[in-house]
């Protein structure tokens, strides 16, 4: 149901739309023409063919990995913030005690099968010890490989 308006206003609106309508169509068409003639705007990748040169976008969230230096040391203090932040319990931080009796990281168990790669653990980590990797070819035929221990070394604390 349209609102009631006077004939004069109706004609005024009609004439105005005769101008603004085509103008908006031309604006839309100019955008798609720009996209059509500019091959640099193409964003899709030819995946299996360009496997060697393919570079993932830096915001891409693959599986979880630990930030380690050359010796395999990490910043994890086994505080368990990531474990608490994880919405579907994909992380188990198993702590242990070092010789000095201090609580350090024992094993960082990561269940990739239930992980949704939401990235909440990375945001929760107060020490910047974990990140989402760029790996995207993560398909596997063996479910046992989906349960992984991320740290190579026990944490130093």
């Amino acid at each position: 149901m349209q609102e009631r308006i006077s004939t004069r206003r109706y004609i005024k609106r009609y004439l105005k739309r005769c101008i603004t309508g085509p103008w908006s169509l031309i604006c839309g068409l100019s955008v798609s023409l720009k996209y059509f003639f500019d091959p640099r705007r193409i964003v899709t990748e030819q995946y299996p063919e360009n496997k060697k040169t393919l570079k993932m976008h830096e915001r891409y969230r693959g599986r979880l990995e630990m930030i380690e230096d050359a010796d395999g040391n990490n910043h994890c203090t086994a505080c368990g913030m990531c474990e608490r932040a994880c919405p579907n319990a994909s992380i188990n931080v198993l702590s242990t005690k070092n010789i000095a009796g201090k609580k350090v990281l024992g094993r960082y168990v990561y269940h990739f099968a239930s992980c949704t790669q939401c990235g909440l653990c990375v945001e929760a980590c107060p020490f910047g010890a974990i990140r989402m990797s760029q790996a995207f070819e993560v398909a596997t035929t063996d479910p046992a490989t989906l349960e992984m221990i991320l740290n190579k070394k026990e944490g130093q604390g």
Binding site: Y14, C18, L25, G28, L29, V31, S32, L33, Y35, F36, P39, R41, I42, V43, T44, Q46
Partner: protein, 372 residues
């Protein structure tokens, strides 16, 4: 003597060669009547093969082109795997379509269900026969070309309505009814624009309309009449888009609302025929636009003798196909840019805007004809 064909260079060539070839046959077959009948049948065969080659041959090209244009507008690459840049993809699709099992839903009107796709194909084929591809390259050079096109276009509506009705599916029926209303409405402005063309060129024969645009680019109907020609071209573009049921006027299909509309229940070859009809209609409507507005088979001469000589060396068929493919590209850009209007907006656009503008245009054209 039995001479059913009209005089025509290619027809005359066949008619002159058939008696020479039959001279090798036994004497019992030497007969002037038999020769003329043979020549008539050979001519008919040439015409049918030519129309089928142009129509069915262009469909895979258009499907490939549509995919590529669509992809590049949407920042994608489109088919790239099969053949060079995916050129064989459409052929693979056609083969897949042909080998699929054909079945109809339970409760469907079997006869109507299978007749509908064939009826849809009638209109584009007849229109293709009327398009002049060169000075002598036309299948049917009839005087009533434009009225014939307007009359034959109704088959498209009939086929879509039959297909939607016989499918025993509420979405199909809704799509078909919407499309029927839409196509009948837009046929009026389609006919009005063709009437404008007829009024300016003074003939209803498509050959005469194309011949009348001989000369430079400025003699083309789109530029011949200062502003009116361009407005008429735009209006023709809009109403022919609606006639073809292409987006933004694809109310009949409307995948998002009606899951495909009238061809929801079709699969395999009948579906391929609907698809084919859609793309042949694209070719014929573009050819019509090229013939009526863009100078038909004439080269785009610019009035400089040196350049015009080179341009006129290229045969008219090539120029017509260049114009057809340019028009098709325009239709595709429009399809992948604009959004579909609602049904009521569509109707309001036709009856409140397009038709009044058409009538004003027709009157202005008449005044122009009197003054100039």
């Amino acid at each position: 003597m039995f001479v059913p064909s009209v005089t025509h260079p290619i027809g005359d060539f066949v008619r002159s060669w058939v008696p020479k070839l039959t001279a090798y046959l036994p004497d019992a077959l030497h007969n002037a009547t038999l020769d003329s009948i043979t020549a008539f049948l050979v001519n008919a065969l040439i015409c049918i093969v030519a129309v089928c080659a142009v129509n069915i041959g262009s469909a895979p090209i258009l499907i490939y082109m549509e995919r590529k244009v669509c992809a590049h507008v949407q920042c994608r690459l489109g088919p790239m795997r099969l053949g060079w840049h995916g050129t064989l993809q459409t052929i693979a699709d056609v083969i897949k379509m042909l080998f699929k099992e054909v079945y109809s839903p339970s409760g469907a009107d079997k006869l109507m269900f299978y007749v509908a796709p064939m009826i849809v194909l009638i209109a584009p084929f007849i229109i293709a026969a009327l398009i002049p591809f060169d000075h002598n390259l036309i299948v049917a050079d009839i005087d009533m070309g434009i009225p014939m096109i307007i009359a034959v276009n109704g088959f498209g509506v009939l086929g879509i309505l039959l297909g939607g009705w016989s499918s025993n599916n509420k979405y199909s029926l809704l799509g078909a009814l919407r499309s029927g209303a839409q196509m009948i409405s837009y046929e009026i402005s389609f006919a009005m624009i063709l009437l404008f063309v007829v009024m300016i060129s003074g003939s209803t024969s498509l050959m005469d309309i194309a011949q009348a645009q001989d000369g430079t680019v400025l003699d083309w109907l789109i530029f011949k009449i200062p502003v009116l020609g361009f407005i008429a071209f735009i209006l023709f573009f809009i109403s022919s888009t609606a006639e073809m049921n292409r987006a933004p006027f694809d109310i009949a299909e409307a995948e998002q609302e009606l899951t495909g509309g009238y061809h929801t229940e079709y699969n395999g070859t009948p579906f391929a025929m609907f698809y084919l009809a859609e793309y042949i209609a694209l070719v014929t409507n573009s050819a019509l636009a090229a013939t009526c507005f863009l100078g038909g088979f004439h080269a785009p001469c610019i009035g400089v003798a040196a350049i015009d000589g080179v341009l006129q060396m290229v045969p008219g068929v090539v120029w017509l196909f260049a114009k057809i493919y340019f028009m098709i590209w325009c239709y595709m850009m429009v399809r992948w840019t604009f959004v579909r209007p609602r049904v009521d907006q569509l109707m309001a656009f036709e009856w409140k805007f397009l038709l009044p503008v058409n009538l004003v245009l027709l009157a202005a054209g008449a005044i122009y004809m009197i003054l100039v």
